[in-house]
Amino acid sequence: MLGALTLIIRKGFNFMMVSLCVLGAVLAMTLVCMMLGYILVHGITFFNLDFITNEAAFPIGTPGGGMRNEIIGTAIIVSLGTLIAVPVGLFAGIFLSEFASPTVASSVRFAADILSGVPSIVVGIFAYAIIVRPMHSFSAISAAVALAIIMLPVVARTTEESMRLVPGSLREAALALGITRWRSVLSVVIPGAMTGIVTGVILGMARIAGETAPLLFTAFGSNFSFESLSEPIAALPLQIYRYAMSPYQDWLQQAWAGAFLLAMMVLVVSLAVRFISRKRGS
């Protein structure tokens, strides 16, 4: 028999732990809502068509300025980074899931996890050292490589995870029909894992679209419209960072609008991903 006191202590402890869990969840939710709300309230007032279609206006204070160059620049380096990261990540993921022996797989997986944990500014320094220095110029291509390095482990691991979810019985079925290993991966396993793979790629793109640190010494930023991959290029997060640090009211407003655009983009992507994965579930 439990004493009355023990019972009270146990119930009290239980109540305390449950409360802490609820509190944590509420806090997390509140933070997201506050942040999105804050950006929404501040950003939407300065967000208009000019912001998307116009270049930055000079001198400072001229109305109708926008971030067209930065939006295009971000689109270019994110697409290029994706173009580099997706094939490499895809093959790495396929290797991990289908062909690697357990020991090799665990070391490759460990390497990928390390890579995804490397601070993005370190990736930026690396891209600076291997591309910017030899080329003697900041460039779009160096930014794309830096972003690709950040995206690579995301694509590789989500590809691996979603291919592992494809039941082994389907691989066996294909092998038992006299289909080669590679062909069964290509035509049976990958189609089964496709939604997961696409989700991973989209999430990776959302991740690198907002990266700022690695762009500081690769893309560098530019006030001019895009001309060449080997020249400095404007980028949205970079410009938000510069404007937000400035003392000018006009630039601060532009930074809010930029933050709003970026946040909306990530939100839309997250919703799209949810939609895709739900479709798979049904």
């Binding site: 022996s101 357990p102 039941p167 019985s169 389907l170 066996e172 079925a173 294909a174 092998l175 038992a176 029909l177 006299g178 289909i179 080669t180 062909r183 069964s184 035509s187 049976v188 189609p191 089964g192 496709m194």
Partner: protein, 274 residues
Amino acid sequence: MDTCPQTENAQGQNPNGNHILITKNLNAYYGSFLAVRDVNMAIAPNSITAIIGPSGCGKSTLIRCFNRMHEVAHGARVTGQLLLDGEDIYGTGIDPVSVRTRIGMVFQKPNPFPTMSVIDNVVAGLKLSRIWSRRRKMEEIAERCLRQAALWDEVKDKLKQSGTSLSGGQQQRLCIARALAVKPEVILMDEPCSALDPIATLKIEDLMHTLAKDFTIVIVTHNMQQAGRVSDATAFMMMGDDRAGQLVEYGATKQIFTNPKDKRTEDYISGLFG
């Protein structure tokens, strides 16, 4: 090879030892663990051979050696010989992929490809082992195989639907049709009815009798009644003292069920264990 004469007597149709599948001292390992020991059996063409025995006795492992699926598992290997039409499929220079087009397999759980339509499922083995295939030809083959698998009438209006939209029994017959499409000589079935209800089971058993006219069938089953209903020959396996599965007795189904030579077979058949 003391097991061979029994089958010959059992079949009565192969007095010259005309066997499509002969195993010689077949051992199956998982790493260093011996899972199946020294199996010698000879299977007559166009017969249905049932492999029965308590769980864990190596039935599935043995049947997976027959089409070189055993070695797919990490660290698994096979020693000994397995002659298909007199040719050792474990011989040097034999490609396991081509062996599997000659010896097809149906698994315990129906496993149609969920991303493919019914028709694509049937011709998957053909389509995915070549670069290019003519659609018209594929449709013809699919219809023939679906008819052979007694499934055509049920699915002819849903050929474009996903293979997994069918019922469990239909899915299993779809898997049989899929195995037929690559024109194998032997079809292995690893407990093909264990996930199905009695009616679906009955349909598959009927189908097996029809298919035996054109193919040789080896079926693993934990269901003794099923073995008794469908098979011409029965192999009884059991785990030995060293935990390796071994062939205890192999002979005509009638003899195994009515007049088993081995005490262990008799005990198993009469339900003393298992």
